[in-house]
């Protein structure tokens, strides 16, 4: 399941809800990844835009990959502002098998970073500044700029 929230995530509650949801599902491994806003370059926080239709189809494709391995994934992300030391992202995998879970969370989080249609802005002195240098072009980018 994919959960989007306005502002910072209630991490303990989400980790508990997900754990309880799968209590009887007979998964042996549960690995959440929690992403928290770091104090860096004098920022006050971060802010996020999300394009939901493509985020949902991207997530659905990963759900299907997980299912092929007998695993499931859950993800939560913030919209809008998230201040220092608050958390904006949780991804989690549940699997019967430890190795599957460890490999899946790694691949999922990395592809999330490279592909999920979410844009990050630094909040600094009242401004919202697109974090271009920390952002990654989605695979296949640039076709509209090609000279013919």
């Amino acid at each position: 399941m994919l959960y989007l929230y306005d502002g910072a995530l209630e991490v303990p509650k989400i980790l508990e809800d997900w754990y309880v949801q799968e209590t009887k599902s007979n998964y042996g491994a549960y690995i959440p990844f929690v992403g928290t806003v770091r104090e860096e370059d004098g920022i006050d926080g971060l802010s996020f835009d999300i394009y939901e239709p493509i985020l949902e189809s991207w997530f659905k494709a990963w759900q299907e990959k997980a299912q092929l391995q007998g695993a499931i994934i859950k993800m939560a992300h913030s919209r809008g502002n998230v201040m220092l030391h608050e958390s904006s992202y949780i991804a989690a995998v549940f699997s019967p098998k430890r190795r599957v879970a460890l490999e899946f969370i790694d691949a999922f989080v990395e592809d999330f970073k490279a592909s999920a249609p979410i844009w990050k802005y630094d909040l600094k002195g009242g401004e919202r500044i697109y974090a271009l240098t920390r952002s990654t072009p989605i695979q296949g980018s640039g076709i509209l700029g090609e000279q013919k």
Binding site: G35, F48, D49, I50, Y51, P53, I54, S57, H77, S88, Y89, V109, F112, K113, A114, S115, A116, P117, I118, W119, K120, Y121, Y130, A131, L132, R134, S135, T136, P137, I138, Q139, G140, S141, G142, I143, L144, G145, E146, Q147, K148
Partner: protein, 73 residues
């Protein structure tokens, strides 16, 4: 009409254009100099499916989205 949307940090209002493929869209957008960087680093989706080539036919009611570099998490 085809609707063209600029997502995330691209500060540009949507366009409604009479075009029949992505190649025509490239010609139009390349004339706007403030878009040139975004055209080079953005991905393109047609009706919310990412596409990897300009060889895509567009029909009335289609939606094209430009997705600049991402950074979730």
């Amino acid at each position: 009409m085809v609707r063209v949307e600029f997502l995330g940090p691209i500060q540009k209002a949507p366009l409604e254009l009479e075009i029949t493929n992505l190649s025509e869209l490239a010609d139009i957008l390349q004339k706007e100099s403030e878009l040139s960087e975004w055209l080079e680093n953005s991905a393109v989706a047609v009706n919310d499916m990412l596409v990897g080539t300009l060889d895509v036919v567009l029909k009335d009611g289609d939606k094209v989205s430009l997705l600049p570099p991402v950074c979730g998490g």
